[in-house]
Subunit: 199 residues, 2 copies
């Protein structure tokens, strides 16, 4: 029986460790590996080791990098006095794709969530406070997700930073571009009305 080939089963288990990969998908991927050319399989194995060894968190902002500090912090054209606070590295990627933000980041590595036992000391919150204190930061844009936990985190950050004389802002809420009003939920629509702007 195919399922009893130990090395195949073991490979499927490795795929199963990745986030969001279930048992069936893991087995499908293990099969896919068998269809790779031998040199492709070797390249795959090496890529895992290389990525794992070379990539680490930027000591300044928590973004991922394979250099000493990340490319954003290392970029002299970026405004170091404008910090965008995000939950994770994926948010950095999303914002970078817009190509409009010219400041730097601070990756929290999570959001405050008392119900899940995530207190401010479990995320890179103290590092943010220290950074704002040391550098001459003029504005902190809190770009945590628009979830209850994200909101709580934003408020918590704001509470700590405002006394330091730093401007704290939050991403605008509103209706998504290209969407249909009919499908907007009441809360979003309410926020969009609240935040209405002159044309």
């Amino acid at each position: 029986m195919v399922e009893h080939i130990e090395s195949l089963q073991h490979l499927a288990e490795q795929f199963g460790r990745l986030q969001g990969i279930g048992r069936k998908t893991a087995m499908r991927m293990a099969f896919s590996v068998l269809r790779l050319a031998p040199e492709e399989a070797e390249e795959f194995a090496n890529a895992i080791l290389t990525a794992k060894q070379s990539i680490h968190e930027c000591p300044i902002c928590g973004n991922l990098t394979d250099k000493e500090i990340c490319s954003v912090c290392d970029d002299d054209t970026r405004d170091k006095r404008l910090i965008c606070v995000v939950e994770d590295v994926k948010a950095v990627m999303s914002i970078e794709k817009v190509r409009e933000f010219k400041g730097v980041y601070h990756v929290l590595g999570g959001v405050i969530s008392p119900i899940n036992g995530i207190t401010p000391d479990k995320i890179r919150f103290a590092e943010l406070i220290a950074r704002v204190g040391e550098e001459d930061v003029r504005e902190v844009i809190v770009a945590t997700d628009p979830t209850p936990d994200g909101e709580v985190t934003a408020m918590y950050i704001s509470k700590y930073l405002k006394p330091l004389g730093v401007k704290v802002t939050r991403l605008a809420y509103g209706i998504p571009v290209g969407s249909d009003l009919e499908y907007a939920d009441e809360v979003t629509l309410g926020r969009a009305l609240e935040g209405r702007q002159d044309v």
Copy 2:
């Protein structure tokens, strides 16, 4: 910018080579690897190499194995005179799960599909004919998928094997157990009526 970390990008490309994995999923999986413990990442890389090196096709039936011949062909309690012909190794797994089939398999490695340029010489068809000729096979169950190509393949096999005095059968068509008649398509329902059995 995170996307420009070469080793991460490279790792995502490796995941992207696997069947059914798109660009976004591949990047998500690459991130997942970064969250593994170092020893887990190493185990993952080794599992790829080990599986790739140790697993090959069974020389008799085409099933996958890490032994000389596969566990089904190697099992003396299985009826070697009853061969179930399947498209791929996944079909072997599906049928083995039922734990009712006591014969052996023959994995074609595909189905005849003239429109896709897959002629009988591109699949393990000659091997099947040779096998039936050499061994004292009494019945061949064709368990290709119930698709047009699967049907064509089944008919082709039947045409070749019947003159050799071998009984050739096909899996029964009908309504799936636990399903609702209301949702059965006409063709399936038609076949279910045709194949009706005494109770």
